[in-house]
């Protein structure tokens, strides 16, 4: 056991910081600072993707021949942490973080060479078609049908909670290719062009008034069989791999750390009625400190998960723990931030959250995102498997109950 950070990694951190200093414009930083969601601001994320792609740092964890960097796990963590703390806008994860790694494992050579470069360049934007109106956390119950017709499938049904389908041109779907067998055995993993005839994308307005989610309808949509990933009816294995990626692949502690840093900065410049800053307020500062301790524990849980994975082990249900703890902790930080924002939680001013907006805000500019973030982030304990489902997974797989 050791916690040593090498001189090499210290130098690496300096290199990352220098790059961020140089490449993050005020507008891009604003996109990170006023981010109200787990997801980035879409246009800002596209700009950021191009910058990272040009630098060669877009997909550090991929193999070198597909655009990776050959960084160590620690270096990748340092990079993510610096991006987050310096208010980089973030990237849409569905393609780069989910489908990409999945194709590297399960895709054919043809699929890799055709799909991955277009994904990196931003030419294709991918969304994830998993949930359906009748199947949320119970993913094995998907109903969307794919009926074989010569070289293609004909698709009918709908997907819901499809994040950023309105900004995407491609979707990866779980479809039912065999309704006769037990649910998990009749599912296939299929790539579909959203521009195909018969596809309709309908936005869903969230309670914060913004649109991130969509429902996607498929009405006799044709998709070639060459778009299958894995074999027919073998989609469940592929999907499970991806779900583990969704739950465990990203670092929740880095996300929470940024929220805590932002809350701390706002606390320092916000005063109670008596004129003392919230940083000095005993009640508030204790509550903040407690959340910081919780996040320190999560940070090292995540380090352990990564170390296990790096050593070739399977962290298994620990990815459920990471997702559950991370999202619930982020919601607690949101609640604390509401106290700082005080009566200025009330003004509805979504337009000021646009990264291009440089004008006045109602109430202090530094916390304009707080109420929207609180509302938006209620979804984090629902998507990717609810907190209840994560607890079930742990009780079953870890405790054997």
């Amino acid at each position: 056991m050791d916690l040593i950070i090498s001189q090499e990694n210290i130098d690496f951190r300096d290199e990352v910081r220098a790059f961020l200093d140089e490449s993050l414009t005020a507008e891009l930083r604003r996109a990170g600072e006023r981010k109200t969601s787990y997801f980035p601001h879409v246009e800002a994320s596209f700009k950021w993707q191009k910058i990272l792609h040009d630098k060669g740092w877009l997909v550090p964890e991929w193999p070198l021949e597909h655009g990776g960097t050959n960084w160590t796990d620690e270096q990748r963590s340092i990079f993510l942490e610096e991006c987050s703390l310096n208010n980089a806008p973030g990237l849409l994860p569905m393609g780069l973080g989910m489908l990409g790694p999945m194709l590297l494992k399960y895709g054919t050579e043809e699929q890799k060479s055709e799909i991955l470069p277009r994904m990196l360049s931003g030419e294709d934007v991918w969304c994830q078609g998993y949930s359906e109106p009748g199947s949320g956390s119970d993913l094995a119950s998907v109903q969307m049908r794919a009926v074989s017709d010569g070289d293609s499938y004909i698709l009918n049904g709908s997907k819901i909670w499809t994040s950023f389908a309105m900004d995407s041109n491609k979707i990866f779907c779980l479809v039912r290719t065999n309704p006769e067998v037990k649910p998990q055995a009749g599912i296939s993993f299929l790539l579909v062009d959203l521009d195909s005839p018969g596809v309709t994308v309908e936005p869903i307005v969230s309670m914060d008034g913004e649109v991130e989610q969509c429902q996607v309808f498929f009405d006799d949509v044709r998709s070639p069989k060459s778009n299958l990933v894995g074999a027919e009816n073998q989609g469940w294995e592929v999907a499970k791999y991806l779900l583990e990626f969704e739950r465990g692949g990203s670092s929740f502690s880095v996300y929470v750390e940024k929220m805590l840093a932002s809350t701390k900065a706002i606390a320092a410049e916000t005063t109670t009625f008596s004129g003392t800053s919230y940083s000095e307020d005993p009640v508030f500062s204790s509550r903040l400190a407690e959340l910081e301790i919780d996040n320190m524990a999560l940070t090292f849980l995540e380090h352990r998960i990564k170390a296990t994975a790096a050593a070739g082990g399977n962290p298994g249900a620990l990815s459920s723990m990471q997702k559950l703890v991370g999202t619930e902790l982020s919601q607690q930080v949101d609640e604390l931030a509401l106290e700082l924002r005080g009566n200025y939680v009330a003004p509805l001013q979504n337009h000021v959250l646009e990264p291009s907006y440089e004008g006045e805000t109602v109430g202090p500019a530094s916390g304009v995102h707080i109420m929207n973030h609180y509302l938006n982030n209620r979804a984090s304990t629902i998507f990717g498997g609810t907190s209840e489902v994560q607890r079930n997974i742990m009780s079953k797989l870890v405790l054997g109950l």
């Binding site: 003004p347 109430g363 609810t386 209840e388």
Partner: protein
């Protein structure tokens, strides 16, 4: 002890409930929120005709002479239906200061208010106040004709629609009564008074109010010094109790909606309502609502009877409801799943209203500190 409403109160509650059931379902509410108008003039007029607007005013002032118990009765129903009409602002806040000060000018506004023809707002809190009544900086200079007021008031609900604003200020430091709190009533078209208006997340309208050398006459002074402070305290206590009642009403609906949904929605082949962990979470919601309601009743009775510990109980009831209502809103969204996070479903709208109420006149930490201070002084 008796926690039943009397016959008249129950009849009034039933009539409010029936009217809102018929006229104010969630779809109608959303249509009002999305319309150009800040709220429904028709609903406001009907509420005047049904006598709701006369509730807290004394019989001499042309009112019904209701008490704090009548206030919770009305606001529980308003909270259930998530009304965006400015009952709190016009009736409890502006109306509360007017009726308690009872100057000739104040009294002259009460008749049109009861008739539904006058809207008001309380422009007291400032950006740094955070619920503390005495933490204000707006200044009043004494002039030959009366006063000249300058200052900034923050998040004043209903100011965009108000005909009159009740405004507070501190006597400027160079005058004899330096530091004394003053309360005025000012018509909204007064020179030097300007609004930066905006919609709010809970479907209403509010404004940042700027007062730039607004000239007011001595007749517009409603109260000063100790009297002004005690009027504000009594008015805010009633408002905090009304907010508590709104949250209690909201909790009932959140629980009922969640229980219904859990019976309909199936996952893993069974209704959500069959999962023990979800049953327990809904039981937590039930307990939250009933504990809040119990303390709300106690606070209302004590406020009606003007007991020594009434303020302490109001603070306690607000703190309890703040915590419980947030618990209910979060559980309702979580148990509804994805659909619970959308604009289409009502649970998110209850969540937004609850979060605004929790912060508007000081957060839970502030009211806990206030509770502790009240305990020491009693």
């Amino acid at each position: 002890m008796n926690f039943e409403y009397n016959q008249d109160q129950q009849a009034f509650k039933d009539s409010v409930s029936k009217f809102l059931r018929d006229q104010y379902d969630f779809e109608s509410r959303q249509a009002i929120v999305k319309s150009e108008a800040a709220f429904s003039k028709e609903v406001w007029q009907s509420s005047a005709e049904l006598g709701w607007l006369s509730l807290p005013f004394s019989e001499e002032q042309g009112g019904f002479g209701g008490s704090a118990v009548d206030t919770i009765l009305l606001f529980e129903e308003l909270g259930k239906n998530l009304l965006v009409e400015p009952f709190l602002e016009t009736l409890v806040l502006a109306g509360g200061v007017l009726r308690r000060s009872a100057t000739p000018l104040a009294n002259s506004y009460i008749e049109p208010l009861i008739a539904g023809e006058l809207q008001g707002a309380l422009a007291h809190f400032e950006a740094r106040s955070r619920g503390k009544l005495t933490a204000i900086d707006a200044q009043a200079q004494i002039t030959a004709a009366g006063f000249e007021i300058s200052g900034q008031k923050s998040v004043v609900y209903n100011a965009p629609s108000a005909d009159i604003l009740v405004v507070s200020a501190i006597v400027a430091s160079d005058a004899q009564q330096a530091g004394e709190l003053l309360l005025f009533v000012i018509e909204k078209d007064a020179a030097g008074l300007s609004l930066q208006s905006y919609p709010t997340v809970d479907g209403r309208e509010a404004a940042e109010v700027s007062l730039n050398k607004v000239q007011v006459s001595a007749g517009q002074l409603l109260a000063r010094g100790e009297q002004a402070l005690s009027i504000l305290e009594a008015t805010l206590d009633e408002a905090l109790l009304a907010q508590t009642a709104e949250m209690v009403g909201a909790m009932d609906v959140l629980l009922q909606t969640t229980v219904e949904y859990s019976k309909e929605r199936k996952q893993f082949g069974v209704s959500l309502s069959k999962f023990q962990v979800l049953q327990h979470r809904m039981t937590e919601m039930l307990m939250a609502a009933e504990l809040s309601r119990s303390l709300m009743y106690a606070a209302a009775i004590k406020l009606r009877d003007a007991t020594d510990d009434a303020r302490l109980y109001v603070a306690a009831a607000k703190v309890k409801a703040d915590k419980c209502a947030q618990l209910c809103a979060q559980a309702a969204v979580q148990l509804h799943g994805g659909i619970g996070t959308t604009d289409e479903l009502k649970v998110g709208h209850y969540m937004k209203r609850i979060e605004v109420i929790r912060q508007l006149f000081g957060g839970a930490d502030f009211h806990i500190e206030r509770f502790k201070a009240l305990q020491k002084s009693s």
